[in-house]
């Protein structure tokens, strides 16, 4: 009940990416283009050179990730994991 649940400040974390930026993201783009479009990936991940992870924190612990994989400097695969 409300009287006994402490106030939780809803603190955002991870990247903030807009739909229309995602629409412009396509394969073949260079790392600089991706960096300019989406900004710096907030999660370094296990292979930062060729796999950029943009964690997007929805709310209440649910995450939606945009993962951009590169093949010698060009975007090879874009996956959206919910």
């Amino acid at each position: 009940c409300a009287l006994f649940t402490p106030y939780e400040p809803e603190l955002k974390q991870g990247n903030f990416v807009k739909e229309e930026q995602l629409r412009q993201l396509q394969t073949g783009m260079s790392t600089e283009q991706v960096q300019f479009l989406l900004g710096t990936p907030m999660l370094t991940g296990e292979s930062p050179s060729d796999r950029w992870i943009y964690p997007i924190h929805e709310n209440e612990g649910k995450y939606r990730h945009i993962i951009v994989e590169f093949d010698n400097g060009k975007v090879s695969r874009i996956t959206r994991e919910s």
Partner: protein
């Protein structure tokens, strides 16, 4: 009443020897006075640079780390290629370290990794410059030991912060703190724990591929890590405290 006036004929040599005797017998405050008198009367004498080194050593040993730090810094600026300038670099690093150590509070029980890391980082960087610039210096061994100690404390600080962020469900922040440990503090005992933080964070964020990579790395590099004690990986932390249980049981269970 010249009786009380210091006997001015004290030669430079006599003053310097007196200072050395006081240093040997660990009377540092006395040595500081003698050295300061020597510096005042013979600023350009034979021992001009040497007495500076002794002075900073005496101040360091008497606990005046901040002043020792300033003296050492000015010495490295004014006499960049003095034969024993490596000692000044070494002392600068150690003074920073002593200031860092003060963070453990009067009783010395406070955990350095919990407190401000600024002096710790300065100490580590100063000592690293000393070690790289003077590979054959006689103080190299002592410096390396202190650096290991510092590296361990700095790494543990990162993990303490990561632990807090995990309890606050800030999984991205926790993962990045663990990455800092893996990149900046190689060979530190906390590497294993950093990997465990990453495994937990990736699990919470649903990044299964990353989790597998980190798990493989843990099994490969740190097989004897406690989380692997039971053969397969077991998540070490209690699910973070269930606050309502803690309140009902007034803290017995959480």
């Amino acid at each position: 009443c010249s009786l009380f006036r210091p006997n001015t004929q004290e030669s430079e040599q006599a003053l310097y020897d007196a200072a050395n005797r006081q240093l040997e017998s660990r009377k540092y405050t006395l040595a500081i006075d003698t050295l300061e008198r020597l510096e005042g009367r013979f600023p350009f004498g034979r021992y001009a640079q040497q007495l500076q080194l002794d002075l900073m050593y005496a101040r360091y040993m008497s606990g005046d780390y901040a002043q020792a730090l300033l003296d050492a810094d000015r010495f490295t600026r004014l006499n960049p290629d003095h034969p024993t300038v490596d000692y000044a670099w070494y002392l600068k690093g150690m003074s920073y370290y002593k200031l860092y150590e003060r963070n453990s509070g009067l009783t010395g029980t406070g955990d350095l990794a919990q407190r401000s890391q600024e002096e710790g980082e300065n100490a580590f960087n100063a000592l690293r410059t000393f070690v790289t610039r003077f590979p054959q210096s006689t103080y190299r061994a002592e410096a390396l030991d202190t650096m290991i100690l510092l590296k361990d404390a700095l790494a543990r600080h990162e993990l303490i912060v990561a632990d807090y962020y995990m309890r606050r469900d800030a999984w991205i922040a926790a993962a990045e703190r663990a990455q800092v440990v893996r990149q900046h503090y190689p060979g530190v005992s906390a590497q294993g724990d950093a990997l465990v933080v990453l495994i937990e964070s990736y699990k919470a964020m649903g990044l299964e591929e990353e989790r597998q990579v980190a798990l493989e790395q843990l099994k490969a590099d740190y097989p004897e890590h406690p989380t692997l004690a039971s053969g397969s990986y077991k998540s070490p932390y209690l699910q973070q405290d269930r606050w309502w249980l803690k309140i009902l049981t007034l803290g017995w269970f959480s």
